[in-house]
Symmetry: C2
Subunit: 240 residues, 2 copies
DNA sequence: CGAATAGTGTCTATGAGACAGTATGCT
DNA sequence: AGCATACTGTCTCATAGACACTATTCG
């Protein structure tokens, strides 16, 4: 069974395969990810990403596995799900070669972990996940997803999926700023979004103790791709 | 073993897992992918993408598996390799649930299939792959990689990896045009590339029966990301 | 010299950021 | 009225495309 793998036909035992999801949401004006406390070794008692095995009888595809798991955890259908990467090596799991297909999902605030879940679930702020020790290489995975989200937010309408159906332009700008960690210029932000043409006025308004704001909704389910990236205000690019 | 997969702990048999590579190169001024003729069922005798099993003893990671396979087929180290997607479902292989981690690779012309390979290998033009019946969902996979390559070429320096170490700006423009299927404007192309600052003059020149051209090389191994996408000449965007 | 390709000068178009101004609702 | 936030007018700036021009080598 040694050297004739030129033919790609030698059979090796398949490495262990799972589907991991990084669910982003905004909770208390903070970008958070959904984490789960592990019930058994390895990393027992540590926080980890939700993970699902493929159920060949139940799941038609990897994407379905991811969706099924999100539904199980939060009882919502995610409005945005994207496959980010697949990590596979012999170091990430002490039990041996393992492979994770990683998805990230964006959902609006107010999705609460399902109570009947056996494991403790919680929304952990992105800063917390990036600074504290997590299970396996999950910190690394979250970092990758976060970078992808940030990067894509520079030239797409992705952050909209972190908001409810109806939202004001100011709320949307705040969401972009939260995700990107930069301040944006109001006029150029609004011009960019409105000129793109994928926002629809709902006719309703958001009221507070000042001038009410128009409420918008998406007219397309697909994210919009802009031709240029956001540059951010020209001095002091970082919020923090 | 039915319903308590809330705990993500029910063990299912792992689906079959492979690493597939779409190797792009320019052969005879045509964008091509490396294809292999299948020696056994299913799809015996049909063209397919090169595919490798993970060898847990040999491979430290999925990326290593991909590199190992390219080396085996062409005896080159690819200058660019990127994971595109992982496809897994119960329809793509008649034998059942199967998962492919897909990479694409860019290499310069003049990499020839290794002769001792048992299977017949060939460079197939992208048009041929997209029009003729291939094995499994490989046409679909190639299409995805091709779109990713085209899309990324609009805002990165990727097409450079399809050229040898040293190249002229005209050769580079031709490569972009070939990949993107659009004509580009000479001045803006050169300005864009030179202003980015990642090209280095080699001091040598390409000679022919006309004015010789400066030869350039990359000064960084990482692809460069532009802030704006290529728009292409404003009328008649398509070549074909 | 002429053919052919390399390479440039400079105009317009687009869309981003800057910044100050106006609009409208609540208390 | 006056505060707070919504929304706009219009300037500058960066970078893309248009297009015509000049430069250099070979035969």
């Amino acid at each position: 069974m040694e050297h004739n793998n030129k033919h790609n036909e030698v059979k090796f035992q398949n490495p262990h395969l799972t589907v991991d999801v990084v669910v982003f949401s905004i909770v208390n004006e903070q970008l958070c990810t959904l984490m789960i406390k592990r019930q058994r070794a390895p990393f027992q008692g540590n926080w980890a990403l939700p993970r699902a095995e493929i159920n060949p009888k139940l799941d038609a595809s990897l994407e379905f596995t991811a969706k099924r798991n999100i539904k199980l955890l939060l009882d919502v259908d995610t409005p945005y799900l994207e496959q980010v990467q697949t990590i596979g090596n012999n170091e990430r799991d002490p039990r041996g070669w393992s492979v994770s297909v990683v998805y990230y999902s964006l959902i609006a605030e107010n999705a609460f972990p399902v109570k009947e879940n056996a494991q403790p679930l919680k929304w952990m702020t992105i800063n917390e996940t990036l600074s504290k020790a997590l299970s396996f290489d999950h910190q690394h995975i979250i970092e990758n997803c976060y970078h992808r989200l940030q990067n894509k937010s520079l030239y797409t309408s992705l952050p909209i999926f972190l908001l409810p159906e109806e939202f004001t332009l100011t709320e949307l700008q705040k969401t972009y700023e939260l995700v990107l960690g930069i301040k944006m210029e109001k006029k150029s932000f609004r011009r960019r979004l409105l000129d793109a043409g994928f926002l629809q006025e709902t006719g309703r308004m958001r009221h507070a103790n000042h001038r009410p704001a128009l409420l918008y909704r998406l007219s397309e389910r697909q994210p919009y791709y802009f031709a240029r990236i956001i540059e951010g205000v020209r001095d002091s690019k970082n919020i923090d």
